[in-house]
Symmetry: C2
Subunit: 244 residues, 2 copies
């Protein structure tokens, strides 16, 4: 299973994903689910993936090949030169459709599922920070002020804290704490989501990653947040008015 | 959908359920999912139900008929005179099997599902407070010190707070606050779970309900807990160490 969460707030974009994949409970591996693309000063993109790993890796590898081809021939289009973030989402959706067309039926006949979904976040020079959820069929929706976050994978454990805290005006600092709690709650309640994590933060108009790092199992910052949160919610619950 | 949660702690049993049922999004009704049985000084039982409403109502109505029959003829067995809580769980499971045998196949042919599960909680004179989860097949498991709570229905949103707070030694007062938060988180994130709620508290060895009441949408106690929790977690998140 997988848990990826992306937030689009006024100050920018915050993205966090786990790295655990599994084919059954007895076959667990580590694969990154976050892929980042940067042309400093021009555009910054992050993709997070969920679902059939052969499908999502196929999409990423096709997108990377297009980037190389466009580097050799600027007349070709890629996610690094497309003229809007919406067009980037279209290109990702199109590659997803192509990989699905090649493999989804054979995968289904083999008794597995080819479902896959992606979160795309980023900003191009001259545009706004934007966040898209791209479905298995290649169609997509965009985060708005009403719904400033998307989740893919094992979404439920980590949703209540997002529902309570995140608004479009939440600061990057608070958004980052909140996605860490959302992930920590998911890690605690679902064994199929696992450390380490991949984190990316994109500040509005910086057109480069403010943070792009791996959070390992023994990361002192993440551990401090998890532990401080355990203390805070215990204190919070104990301090509630009594119902008896 | 449904959300029911039951806790078995050293001080006793805490049970909370919602009351919303739906057949599709456009057909929402209110039905209690908590059924209580009391012989003060002798035994106290509560059942919470989830799944196909015709199945679970059928089970409860068969159990009630057996109670009436046993009242007329004490040689007959019912959940109010069975000689252990495990035997009560067996009787509930057997009635569930009988209702399933009569209806599950026709229900399946009609394109619906007959799945149902129940939580059974209670104590008989001379025994301990016990909590069981009874599955669709009539089999059941019991809560232990390792796993002192069960949930049925829409379980995920409300699980992280239980995982963090509940141990076998959690007080009834804290357990009650925690199930209210677990329910409030579920209500906030899932439209198919709805107020009002049914609450029951059974203190160890009291052999009667300490609390058995409906929590209406405008209940001041529940609203105060929900609101105090919103404030507490916002303060808690804001007070976390920064990750930037």
């Amino acid at each position: 299973m997988t848990y990826c969460v992306g937030l689009c707030v006024a100050e920018g974009l915050v993205l966090l994903s786990d790295t655990q994949t599994n084919a059954g409970l007895d076959n667990i591996s580590r694969f990154t689910k976050m892929f980042t693309f940067e042309r400093p000063g021009e555009r910054v993109l992050a993709l997070m993936t969920c679902g059939n790993l052969s499908i999502t890796q196929g999409v990423v590898s096709r997108l990377e090949r297009k980037i190389q081809e466009a580097a050799a021939d600027p007349a070709l289009e890629s996610i690094l030169n497309a003229d809007s973030m919406a067009r980037v989402a279209q290109l990702v959706g199109t590659e997803l459709q192509r990989v699905q067309a090649a493999y989804s039926e054979p995968i289904r006949r083999a008794g597995a599922t080819a479902d896959a979904s992606l979160l795309l976040a980023g900003q191009r020079r001259g545009g706004q920070p934007r966040l898209f959820l791209i479905y298995s069929a290649g169609n997509f929706i965009e985060a708005t002020r009403d719904t400033p976050f998307f989740q893919i994978g094992e979404t439920k454990y980590g949703k209540p804290i997002l529902d309570r805290i995140i608004t479009p005006d939440t600061s990057i600092d608070l958004a980052l704490k909140t996605v860490c709690i959302s992930m920590a709650s998911t890690l605690m309640s679902n064994l199929s989501v696992g450390m380490p994590l991949d984190l990316a933060v994109i500040r509005k108009d910086a057109l480069a990653f403010a943070t792009r790092r791996r959070i390992e199992r023994d990361d002192p910052g993440f551990a401090a947040v998890s532990q401080a949160w355990s203390v805070a919610i215990r204190k919070g619950v104990e301090g509630l008015p009594s119902l008896m």
